[in-house]
């Protein structure tokens, strides 16, 4: 059986006020992406975007989002993403931009990258910690990322099942 080939974009939603991230949900991101693709690539882009595009996962706490794009036109759609300047969520306009961190062929590779990336981020945060307690917390988090497999596997399972359903 031939698989529908996709590309998964791992993006980071950057906002000035991190508390507003929690307002986001899958749909708002999808709407924003579709709108910006229609604006930059017109009807043609919008048409390509209407088949095989979806927001696979959104972590409203960290602002991480997985976009699924059809492989044949992911470059075209990707080129529109930098033009997102705001996302409309629950009646509020949230100024933000999408920063693409990784492009992968499966959700799994993206997720592996994400774990590595988050570890790096934690490492970067470590020296900035104000007191020992915070430092300890961050250290613990790093250890969790790299050592404890239980949590990761749970996440992988969740994503893995979504992927299957997508094909």
């Amino acid at each position: 059986m031939v698989r529908v080939k996709s590309r998964y974009l791992l993006c980071e939603v950057n906002v000035s006020d991190r508390s507003r991230l929690l307002l986001l949900d899958d749909r708002t991101i999808a709407v924003a992406v579709k709108a910006v693709v229609a604006r930059t690539h017109g009807d043609y882009g919008a048409a390509l975007c209407s088949v095989g595009f979806s927001v696979k996962y959104l972590n409203a706490h960290t602002g991480i989002v997985f976009l699924r794009l059809p492989k044949r036109c992911y470059r075209l759609l990707w080129s529109a993403l930098p033009f997102i300047t705001s996302v409309e969520a629950r009646g509020q306009k949230i100024p933000c931009f999408l920063n693409c961190l990784h492009v992968g062929g499966t959700i799994r590779t993206c997720q592996k990258f994400l774990i590595r990336y988050n570890t790096q981020q934690l490492h970067r945060m470590l020296p900035k910690c104000k007191n020992e307690e915070e430092k300890q917390q961050v250290r613990q988090a790093i250890l969790n990322c790299s050592l404890t497999r239980g949590k990761n596997e749970a996440l992988e399972d969740e994503l893995g099942s979504e992927e299957d359903e997508g094909e």
Binding site: S50, V51, R72
Partner: protein, 275 residues
């Protein structure tokens, strides 16, 4: 390559509009066109299947194809829009008076049936709505093997921006499944200004995800194989051939019984299978 064809010009009761459409098609370089009668049965009341007006009554003078010394060839075609399997009656004698027979299935089940079972020439892809189903490889390949072709029409894409999105999206997902084989591009034009030249249509094919060569075949060779398929379908693989004058008279005689919705019992096993 064979000659350029546009196998879908919408029928309008307005003679002069039809005439100007055929004139324009000839001027643009199409050597063969088909006038399409759309038949859209609804669930509630019974409707008459349209009968084609003979071409010589419809068009006074067949125009000469641009740059050539021969006149354009005009055919009749019937498209049945199906939302239920009872809408297509394989044995209906009315179908026989058309040169080409097309169906436009609106559900996945009907699409599957059309691809695998129905004795038609063309399967139309809806371009006015987002497809409610995906094109599965199996029925698409089945249809290709049986010599059926899929038709994408572009004139709705000229009329409206939303329809244009549906047209491109549906066409692209079709091309993904059939890999550019057995696809024809036609206009479905309702007036002359909605027609486009053959090379323009070829270029439009690129937008729909076809390659250069496939796009050109979609207006030439593939259309030719549709005509051949139609010919074999009408003549039982080329074995029986009935003259037009005979078939017309027999149609008129047979017309009343089928309009009651009854086909001869011996031939009824076919629709039963499709349900």
């Amino acid at each position: 390559m064979s000659v350029f064809m546009d196998l879908n010009l919408s029928y309008t009761a307005d003679r002069s509009a039809l005439q100007s459409m055929v004139d324009t098609a000839a001027h643009l370089g199409f050597s063969t066109v088909a006038i399409n009668y759309l038949f859209e049965p609804t669930a509630k009341k019974k409707q008459e299947i349209p009968t084609p007006t003979p071409i010589n009554e419809l068009i006074d003078q067949l125009p000469i194809v641009q740059g050539r010394s021969r006149p354009i060839r005009v055919l009749n075609r019937l498209t049945v829009v199906m939302s239920d399997s009872s809408h297509f009656r394989p044995t209906a004698p009315e179908y026989r008076s058309f040169d080409l027979l097309a169906v436009q299935p609106t559900t996945e089940k009907l699409f599957h049936a059309a691809c695998m079972l129905y004795d038609v020439d063309i399967i139309c892809i809806s371009v006015t709505e987002k497809l409610p189903f995906f094109f599965k490889r199996a029925p698409v390949n089945g249809a290709v093997d049986r010599g059926l072709v899929f038709e994408v029409s572009y004139s709705t894409a000229i009329r409206d921006s939303t329809m244009r999105r549906y047209t491109i999206a549906n066409a692209v997902s079709l091309m993904d499944s059939c890999k550019g084989k057995s696809v024809i591009l036609s206009s479905a034009a309702e007036k002359a200004l909605e027609l486009r030249g053959p090379y323009d249509v070829t270029n439009l094919g690129l937008l729909f995800g076809l390659s250069d060569g496939d796009a050109k075949e979609a207006v030439t060779s593939t259309c030719r194989s549709v005509l051949l398929h139609a010919e074999t379908r009408r003549t039982a693989s080329g074995i029986i051939y009935t003259m037009r004058s005979c078939s017309e008279s027999s149609c008129q005689q047979e017309a009343p019984p089928p309009s009651e919705g009854e086909a001869p019992a011996a031939k009824r096993h076919r629709p039963a299978l499709t349900e």
